[in-house]
């Protein structure tokens, strides 16, 4: 699509930007992964059992970071006006933003997730599934996060509002992913959870841009 590539490259550059981006998300992720075992008890056998779950839940929390800047900064500095008058509709603009967000934070986090799970003593055989869940789940988190960010446009204290809007939407993918990981580790049926996670991810990618476009238009009006 005309203009989509130009915009995606710019959004990626902004998301990777100085100091923030993947490094910040990875550091935050490491902190959460270290803190959770401290609260839940240090016994290795117990940790090993919940390790994939911790690595997975921490992903959802890390995805909340920097959601605020996704639309709010463009709205405040007038860039959103410019984006609205370009060759691509606002829905495509939203897709470019969420995709860039995923590439800059979600994908690096998905690669860090197995390392975190290993450190906590998870079984090696669950790693491919964890990466797959993290990649697909991260995509869903990015698009749903974008939805929250767009809906919170123009409100003061947007950051907190985004988290409150978005976290309930994160519940289904967290449950599906955890179900798949749990089932796989325990040798139970697990494909159902994974398929539901993928379906949820596809649904989020298909529907949330429409809502984001409408929310941006509403904020500009």
């Amino acid at each position: 699509m005309k203009g989509f590539g130009i915009l995606l490259r710019r959004e990626l550059a902004l998301a990777w930007g100085k100091g923030g981006g993947p490094l910040l998300a990875l550091t935050f992720y490491a902190c959460v992964v270290v803190l959770l075992p401290m609260a839940s008890g240090r016994a290795p056998e117990r940790l090993a059992a919940i390790a994939p779950g911790i690595a997975w839940l921490a992903l959802a929390l890390a995805a909340l970071l920097s959601l605020e800047r996704l639309f709010e900064r463009d709205y405040e500095d007038g860039t959103l006006d410019l984006l609205a008058l370009g060759p691509a509709p606002l829905e495509a603009v939203a897709v470019a933003k969420c995709l860039a967000q995923w590439l800059a934070t979600g994908a690096p986090l998905a690669l860090a997730a197995p390392i975190a799970a290993l450190m906590l003593g998870a079984d090696l055989k669950v790693m491919p599934l964890l990466v797959l869940c993290a990649l697909a789940g991260g995509l869903a988190f990015a698009f749903l996060g974008g939805l929250g960010a767009a809906l919170a446009l123009g409100s003061k204290r947007g950051g907190l509002l985004v988290a409150v809007i978005v976290l309930p939407l994160f519940a289904p993918p967290v449950i599906f992913g955890a179900g798949a990981l749990d089932g796989y580790s325990a040798g139970l049926p697990w494909t159902g959870g994974l398929l539901l996670l993928l379906a949820y991810c596809v649904g989020a990618i298909a529907l949330s841009p429409l809502a984001m476009g409408a929310a941006c238009r509403n904020a500009l009006d």
Binding site: I6, G17, D77, G78, D81, A84, L85, G86, P87, D221
Partner: protein
């Protein structure tokens, strides 16, 4: 190319308040009109309505080319520039990165962007981050995209405010060339523009003085 903008019976309300109603305005190729009115009269709202960002309460805004009407969405995606109070620049990016993106995004080429940078005397600034530019320099950078990507209708909201006298004259020259090439300008200003313009009073008659 966009040749005519037809505004008919336009009314704009914000919340409960009607800013203005029954506004008629026709802008043809080569014409510039300035919106006159007190603060809060609705000048910015009118510009945003023409740009399609704001839905008018009543009335229509139509666009026409030599060959016939242009869809509003097409006109907005291809034929008009809006420069509001804010420059729409990211402070962490360099001046060149921003100018290049804005030019490509609005349909120009990288060569256009380079020529515009030269035209607006920005060459020395291109490697600097936007945060290091002064307000006037930022505005020049934002104005450069108008010259860089060819769009017929310029909607300008107080374009001159941060510019010094020399830069105002230089931008006047750019606007004059744009009009001579069949362009159109609709601007809200407090100081008169350095080009021949038509004045359009905005606001409710006698309301809220």
């Amino acid at each position: 190319m966009l040749r005519v903008v037809l505004i008919k019976e336009l009314a704009i309300t914000r919340g409960e308040r009607t800013l203005f109603s029954r506004l008629d305005l026709t802008l043809r190729a080569g014409e510039a009109a300035v919106l006159m009115g007190r603060n809060g009269a609705g000048k910015t709202s009118l510009l945003r309505a023409v740009a399609g960002l704001l839905r008018p309460a009543e009335g229509t805004i139509a666009f026409e080319s030599e060959t016939g009407p242009i869809e509003a969405d097409t006109a907005r995606a291809e034929h008009l520039h809006l420069l509001g109070h804010q420059d729409g620049l990211k402070s962490s990016r360099t001046a060149w990165e921003e100018l290049r993106f804005q030019t490509l995004w609005t349909g120009g080429t990288e060569d256009n962007a380079r020529a515009a940078a030269k035209r607006f005397d920005l060459n020395r600034l291109l490697d600097l981050e936007v945060r290091r530019l002064s307000a006037g320099q930022r505005r020049r950078l934002a104005l450069a995209r108008l010259a860089a990507s060819p769009r017929a209708l310029w909607l300008l909201d107080e374009p001159m405010a941060p510019l010094d006298a020399g830069q105002r004259a230089a931008f006047g020259q750019v606007m004059a060339e744009h009009l001579a090439g069949g362009g159109m300008i609709l601007a809200s200003v407090h100081d008169p523009l350095p080009i021949p313009t038509r004045s359009v009073p905005i606001g409710m008659e006698g309301a809220g003085r």
